[in-house]
Amino acid sequence: MNGLPLFPRAASTIAPGVDALFTGLMVMTIVFSGLIFFAIAFFAIRYREGSKANRDNPRSESLPLELTWMLVPLGISFGFYFWGTTLFTRMHVAPPGAVDIYVVGKQWMWKIQHQQGNREINELHVPLGRPVRLIMTSQDVIHSFFIPAFRIKQDVLPGRYTTEWFQATQPGEYHFFCSQFCGTSHASMRGRVVVMEQAAYERWLAGATPGAPMATQGEELFERFGCATCHRANNTGRGPTLAGVANSTVELEGGGTAVADREYLRQSILDPAAKVVRGYKPVMPVFRGQLTPDQVAQLVEYIRSLGGPRVAAKGGAQ
């Protein structure tokens, strides 16, 4: 009744590339194992005990042969290495202008938050034909966000942002799974991606009881936790001014610099003493345990909404 599928649907820009690589490796596997199987079967029959095959001058070593079967596999290996690594680089770096969606994994569900304020659980609505980047973190253990039809997967770690991106090429519904074992109901921690035409996607964004946009919610939190007491405009407070800080390069106390990407902002909220901006004291209270990952994401979006240098999107969390 369910049929016997042998090959997964390919519904992202990256999927055909991965399938081509898979096919290439398949061909290599079939050629080599075919060669070995044939050689063994042929020799095993031809030189069976009692056969009259010619056994003159049996050899038990040959440097040219050894070199051949060292160098040929080495060459083929490196061919596949470069193929796979080039493609990986493409998969790793999201193109500019991607739709950013926040994903939080927790035992045992996926919570998704759109910039516009829409929230979903175990469902992910995305537009067709536009790059979408998932900015993911976990509330407890390690999870992994796996969309087979898009051929992408990335572990979702507590205490850190990881990202993955895709651009869907076919509208429809696809599975996503948690693929890193995370406890009792690991196998139920799955859901569906709904790929929609741009217009339908926008209708969905507007229609499904959206809350305030994330940045606005972040601003409320910013007020509620009194962040503005220290983070004032024009560097007059005890903390640095946050306007324009997103994506800028900040100098750190104790030497070195850091790019104020999402990961830096997240860390600086939760564990402020880790990377203190030069000229400031580590006086900010620790918010680890005080804020949910959703709230941290809202604050990060708020800080980003305050402006900052535009940079080309990179693979790491921006």
């Binding site: 104790g254 564990d271 003493a273 880790a274 580590p282």
Partner: protein
């Protein structure tokens, strides 16, 4: 094992083969031990890189003087151990017993000083998982520093205690005249172990105590 039994076990042909096997066996065991401590040292390396500032602050809580004295004590014990091996190889019973006993005493002294340091840590609430309060800003990194401190020095102390136990047995046997110019392999092999434990400490001292003592 009776006294008059041949000193070469049945599986060996010669005493030299037996001695070579025992020595090689101990060296291989020490390679294993390097990687046992290596797991903790790798954790140390990673966090020293990612939490460098915290480690520098946390290490200020250490007593450099006690650590230094302990290093000197262990170095001396290595000297007495080397002399004990030499004496045993020469068949000088009294001297080998004396040197083994000194080695044990120095080892015990080290553990005593270590105990004092541990007691200080408890008094200063610097024992993660049991009683840990860190006033400074980077409590997370400091906590990891102290976990690794207790793990590394704890396993080192455990190795030292085992070494003392082994040497105690050897001392008793040496006193009964079991070792001679012809057969002193157990003392030699135990010596290798003891020196290894010393070497571990040679690395631990700068890594734990001397991260940033200037300023």
């Amino acid at each position: 094992m009776s006294e008059n039994r041949a000193l070469v076990a049945h599986q060996f042909d010669t005493a030299a083969q037996q001695r070579g096997a025992a020595t090689l066996g101990m060296w291989i065991f020490l390679a294993t031990e390097v990687l046992f401590f290596g797991g903790m040292l790798m954790a140390y390396t990673v966090y020293r890189v990612t939490e460098g500032e915290a480690f520098a602050h946390a290490s200020r809580a250490q007593n450099i003087l006690l650590g230094g004295i302990n290093t000197a004590v262990l170095l001396t014990s290595s000297l007495t151990m080397a002399l004990a091996v030499h004496a045993a190889q020469g068949g000088r019973r009294t001297r080998s017993v004396m040197m083994l006993a000194s080695t044990m005493a120095l080892g015990a002294l080290f553990l005593g000083v270590k105990g004092v340091e541990y007691a200080e840590k408890f008094a200063e609430h610097l024992v993660p998982g049991v009683d840990f309060h860190w006033a400074g800003p980077d409590a997370g990194g400091a906590q990891i520093y102290f976990i690794l401190y207790f793990l590394l020095t704890g396993f080192h102390a455990l190795h030292l205690a085992i070494g003392i136990g082994v040497i105690a047995v050897l001392t008793a046997r040496a006193a009964r005249g079991r070792y001679s110019a012809a057969y002193s392999t157990p003392v030699e092999v135990a010596g290798l172990y003891w020196h290894f434990v010393d070497i571990v400490w040679i690395f631990l001292y700068p890594l734990i105590y001397l991260i940033r003592v200037y300023r």
